[in-house]
């Protein structure tokens, strides 16, 4: 088995904060690996370590067989990085941006032109190719940034929260672009805070928390571990929250979660449709007024709760701020 990334016991401290605290992670060739975790879990620090931008304090990290610590130049030849920020030059056109990066990869002028043109085509930027990037929309800029990471035809593509801050439509467009790449055989490592993103794009998901991997598997495996769906009820009056929580908890034999500010009770249910129906019946028979009731896929908080036994706090930590 060849691995595109092999990390063992990675540690990285920023002052008192351990951004990576003994992270083990392997990503196989020929697939998309998603690193899922809340803000500050160490996702960005890990991607930066793979991209040779951060040198871990301890541990070993092999990228496409090259030691990232000892031979970073070899790693840089095989990776392409697209970050949370659209790191393109706004005062250059889309084409100029791509040709510059291709040239920096050592491509001849002619090859750079050809690969820039191919990437523009692939990302649907042909019409905008000769406009300055500062006239692009947020989604277009993000696609151009993705293009800049592709133009050197990397074996491994690193995408750090590629859709953070994008509107839903641009997000879907970017997903399509990433899927097309994978079909072409590029290995991808992406980080995300969104479970559905990992679900849509990745065949292998690693959940990390406090700089350590806490679970790994296919999206289906992980979902089976947390089981089923979530029924969420929004009550009209805050005073009914404990009643509803107690009731739903008893039916499904799990603890229901209460979110007071939004007057919501949520509970994990096994199986599909009948969970919603039975919840509705019980709530009705208790005479509780509700504003809304719905069944949905578990979100990252619930995945966390199921796997770590505690909610995923969105703590602001070093990996996001210090490493920026």
């Amino acid at each position: 088995m060849t691995y595109t990334i092999e990390a063992h016991g990675l540690k990285k401290r920023y002052g008192k904060t351990a951004a990576l605290d003994g992270l083990d992670l392997v990503a196989q060739r020929g697939q998309v690996t998603a690193v899922l975790g809340p803000n500050g879990a160490g996702k960005t620090t890990f991607v930066r370590a793979v991209a040779t931008l951060v040198r871990p304090d301890e541990g070993t990290l092999l990228v496409a067989g090259h030691d990232a610590g000892k031979d970073p130049a070899a790693v840089r030849r095989v990776i392409g990085l697209a970050g949370q920020f659209a790191a393109v030059e706004p005062a250059m056109t889309g084409r100029e941006n791509l040709e510059m990066v291709a040239g920096l990869f050592g491509q001849t002028r002619r090859a750079a032109k050809a690969s820039a043109a191919a990437v523009l085509e692939q990302l649907g930027l042909v019409e905008a190719a000769d406009r300055l990037a500062r006239t692009y929309s947020g989604g277009m800029r993000r696609r151009l940034d993705l293009g800049a990471s592709l133009v050197g035809s990397p074996r491994l593509l690193l995408l750090d929260e590629p859709t953070a801050g994008l509107d839903p439509r641009s997000r879907l467009e970017l997903w399509d672009a990433i899927r097309a790449l994978v079909a072409d055989g590029t290995d991808v490592l992406l980080t995300t805070q969104y479970l559905d993103e990992a679900d849509h794009l990745a065949s292998h998901v690693v959940i990390i928390d406090h700089g350590r991997a806490v679970a790994a598997g296919t999206p289906t495996e992980l979902k089976q571990r947390i089981g089923g769906n979530v029924v969420e009820v929004r009550v009209r009056h805050g005073r009914d929250l404990p009643t509803v929580a107690g009731m739903l908890g008893r039916i499904h034999r799990v603890d229901a979660q209460i979110d007071e500010p939004t007057r919501r009770v949520s509970v994990r249910v096994e199986g599909s449709g009948d969970g919603l129906m039975s919840a509705l019946r019980y709530v009705e028979s208790a005479g509780v007024e509700i504003d809304d009731i719905a069944m949905r896929q578990p979100n990252l908080d619930e995945v966390f709760l199921a796997i770590t036994g505690r909610p995923a706090e969105n703590h602001d930590d070093a990996s996001a701020t210090v490493a920026a």
Binding site: R48, A51, T52, L53, V54, A73, R76, R77, I79, G80, L81, G83, Q84, F85, A86, A87, V88, E89, P90, A91, M92, E96, M100, V101, A102, G103, L104, F105, G106, Q107, T108, A111, A112, A114, S115, A117, A118, V119, E121, Q122, L132, A148, L150, V151, G152, S153, L158, A180, A183, D184, G185, A324
Partner: protein, 276 residues
């Protein structure tokens, strides 16, 4: 998708050894920095207008009240104004560096198979070009409002070259600031160091008119040596009487300062850049 995958596979072979040379990559990154200036004309036009206005204010408003023995104030002012102009442009260097870092552009470049020094080298080159342009422009206005070279044309050219060298040295100081600042606002704030350097110097008025305790700093700081070196080259025979030393005295000291600034800031900047 077939056309794309073949096009993407092809350049892999064209990635010659995967390492772009120092010179080639430096020039490519420099081109980007220059394009940014050229294609954001508001920046340059505004800066140029502002600089010209200040120059005319010094020349015609304050200038009338300042008397320098043995020469018109414009001949005294121009070397000082040009040298401080180089410093004020450094604030832009620090800001641009911090912006590139903050916006992720430096991350992109650092993840590419290019020598890491080419990114800093490109910033220095681009901003040195800006310094040269701005100095030439200021000199042109200066000649239009009565400034004259009293030494040889060769001395004039040497003065111009000296300003570029000095600008180059100070670029490194500002790049270092930009690397440490973390964001553009902080970089701009750190750039305020320019004010005491520019005003507590011989740039606009003779140091001898300042309070004694200020003179100690004003006499020995790098900008004063630089300004007086340029003066000694442009004032010709008047220089010795005004400055009390031959031009070699000031030129060597100005160059020593430039070398010292480079020797201290370059290793710090490079180390900081490598650490990321």
């Amino acid at each position: 998708m077939t056309t794309i995958s073949s096009a993407l596979e092809q350049p892999a072979a064209a990635n010659t050894g995967g390492q772009s040379g120092l010179l080639k990559s430096t020039l490519k990154v420099t081109r980007r920095a220059l394009l940014r200036y050229v294609r954001t004309p508001q920046l340059i036009v505004l800066a140029t207008i502002q600089m010209s206005l200040f120059f005319l204010i010094y020349r015609y408003m304050f200038g009338g009240a300042i008397h320098i023995a043995g020469m018109p104030y414009v001949d005294y002012l121009v070397p000082g104004f040009i040298a401080t102009g180089v410093l004020f442009m450094g604030i832009g260097t620090a800001t641009a560096m911090a912006e590139d870092l903050e916006g992720g552009f430096i991350d992109r470049l650092r993840s590419l198979p290019i020598p890491r020094s080419s990114v800093l080298a490109a910033r220095v080159l681009a901003d040195a070009a800006l310094v040269a342009w701005s100095t030439a422009f200021t000199a042109a206005i200066a000649f239009a409002v009565g400034f004259r070279l009293h030494g040889s044309a060769l001395d004039g050219l040497a003065a111009f070259g000296l300003v570029i060298v000095f600008g180059f040295a100070f670029e490194w100081l500002f790049i270092t600031m930009g690397l440490f600042a973390g964001n553009a606002q902080a970089a701009q704030g750190m750039g305020m160091i320019v004010f005491p350097l520019a005003f507590v110097s011989s740039a606009y008025v003779p140091v001898s008119t300042m309070p004694g305790w200020l003179q100690v700093f004003a006499k020995h700081q790098p900008l004063t040596y630089m300004v007086d070196a340029v003066r000694s080259l442009t004032l010709g025979p008047h220089a010795q009487a005004l400055l009390g030393h031959p031009s070699s005295y000031f030129v060597t000291r100005a160059l020593l300062w430039a070398a010292a600034i480079i020797a201290v800031t370059v290793p710090i900047a490079v180390a900081r850049y490598r650490r990321g």
